[in-house]
């Protein structure tokens, strides 16, 4: 097992000094919802505000110059993190906005490859987060296109058995998640993208649960668009990323309209700046972008491969522990093959909300409920699950705390 030096990593994260209920230490197993932030990120934001704060791209004064350099520098760092060109990286407020940006932009045109109409199809999967499902439902509604989806196998894998029926010449967009935020399943994106491209479809990847956890290279992935949120990747809240292929970004209509995204404006009409500016209307989330730049640097300095190996080791240990608990049903892949460090389970008749509440007494933070993947819950016949998710500041002791906490929960509710 190749674990990270968690003690020295934790020293960068002030929140671990906090005392939880009953003076317990914080066992944070909810990074799938949002991650904590290292001092390096908090300091980068503060430095922006206290030394360089100004509206970017709009002024000739020194602060405006420095702010622009900081903001564009962050774009370069994020681009580097993804193996992309800087101009193909758009800053949004979140992955949710990134995905909505696409769905709206596609319906802001009625010609070219982005235009959809009755007879066209949009393909998603049953394991999508609501953020990669509802925008496409709405795009289908606006355009008359039909929404279709991959099912899920009982092991929590994408059901690809009917892929030839699902991906056809009618398919215009394929939007899938890289890693399920409920099951931990990592999907065979490259294969699906190849098939989709052969049919002329555009491929959108929800990388919210992958980009923070393992190495991403947009070129080898073979997708056309990729979205993720900063706040799940050690960065501040309020910043997300949309990466897109240059030639597609160039052709697309804008989404938000306002300052800085224009080329020229009259009272009647306006024309647009080139990407990425075209998609960044208004004074942007500058400090948050700078924070995201610092976050991806921090991740890179640890090394994405090492992070992946670390989480794999934790997941291995957790799978063993959880599988030994009687009455516990793990939903999702039972091994670490093509799966990440997100573990969802049911515990006898104890409702997830109650499980979470007992764990909270021991300082253990897990997520409970439908995890914004309600259709997947229905598929597995549960109203919700308890979910533990790992990141760089977790260690084997955290996993053991979870296992012990579950035993205590059973005891508390007299389920033995």
């Amino acid at each position: 097992m190749t674990l990270l030096d968690v003690q020295s990593i934790k020293a960068d994260f002030p929140i671990f000094n906090k005392k939880m209920r009953n003076d317990a230490r914080l066992v944070y197993l909810d990074s799938g919802a949002t991650s904590h932030k290292p001092l390096q990120v908090l300091n980068a934001e503060r430095e922006f505000y206290t030394l360089h704060n100004a509206a970017v791209h709009r002024g000739s004064h020194l602060l405006a110059e420095e702010a622009s350099a900081a903001y564009e520098g962050a774009r370069e760092k994020v681009a580097h993190f993804l193996g992309a060109a800087a101009d193909d990286v758009v800053f949004t407020k979140s992955a949710t906005e990134s995905l909505n940006l696409l769905a709206y932009s596609f319906s802001n045109t009625n010609r070219g490859q982005f235009a959809l109409a009755a007879g066209d199809e949009i393909l998603v999967s049953e394991m999508e987060h609501h953020a990669n499902l509802i925008p496409w439902q709405q795009l289908a509604k606006r355009t008359g296109a039909k929404l279709r989806w991959f099912g899920t196998t009982t092991e929590g894998r994408l059901d690809l058995s009917n892929i030839d029926e699902l991906i056809t010449e009618r398919t215009k967009i394929v939007a899938i998640t890289h890693q399920s935020n409920v099951l931990g399943t990592v999907n065979p994106v490259t294969d699906i993208a190849r098939k989709a491209h052969a049919c002329g479809a555009i491929v959108v990847l929800d990388a919210c649960q992958s980009a923070p956890h393992f190495e991403i290279d947009v070129n080898s992935l073979g997708v056309d668009f990729l979205a993720f949120s900063g706040h799940k990747a050690l960065a501040p809240t309020g910043v997300g990323v949309l990466w897109g292929r240059a030639e597609l970004l160039a052709e697309m209509e804008p989404f938000l309209f306002g300052g800085s995204m224009i080329e020229s404006v009259t009272m009647e009409a306006a024309t647009w700046a080139p990407a990425p500016r075209k998609f960044e209307a208004g004074v942007p989330n500058m400090a948050q972008a700078v924070g995201l730049g610092a976050a991806v640097e921090y991740l890179t300095s640890i090394g994405m491969e090492k992070i992946h190996a670390h989480e794999k080791a934790l997941t291995e240990h957790a799978l063993q522990g959880l599988q030994n608990i009687s009455g516990l049903t793990l939903i999702g892949p039972q091994s670490t093959i093509d799966r990440g460090g997100v573990l969802s389970f049911s515990l006898e008749e104890i409702h997830p909300h109650d499980v979470g509440q007992v764990l909270d007494q021991y300082g253990i933070a897990v997520r409970t409920g439908h995890h914004c993947a309600w259709p997947l819950m229905r598929k597995f016949g549960v109203s919700g699950t308890t979910r533990a998710s790992f990141y760089i500041y977790n260690d084997l002791a955290d996993v053991d705390a979870l296992i012990d906490g579950i035993a205590a929960t059973k005891k508390y509710f007299k389920v033995l």
Binding site: N22, P352, H353, D354, Q357, Q361, M377, S383, Y412, F413
Partner: protein, 151 residues
Amino acid sequence: MELDSLYQEVILDHYKRPHHKGLMADASKQVVQVHHVNPSCGDEVTLNLVVSDDRVEEISWDGVGCSISQASTSIMSDLVQGRTLTQAFEVLDSFSELMASKGTVVGDEGLLEDAVALAGVSKFPARVKCALLGWMAFKDAALQGKEGEKS
């Protein structure tokens, strides 16, 4: 442990053996049915209410949810069954106040009976909406019933 103020024995009892659970469907009566969900956790309750002469003649419900939401709905059903709507709303108001109290009041046991066991919930803001789910469904059904009468 702080937890015991949340999960009192009487709550766990109601959770394990809920009252009025299982939907009645007597076609001869005018039933108002409502369905409420708690979108953040996925808890759901369906509630059937029969009111005659401004009095709760019959209440029944079904649903999925945590111990707090299930127990609270069970307790609420006991409390409103047979009461006039005016009385039932008085109980409801008192319970809503208790839930909003952040642990500062203990609740009127004469009025709230078993529901005072839920006082501890008010110290856990995230659980208040669990405790209120069934009550809000009842309120909705009762108001819909009144509307229906008028028109």
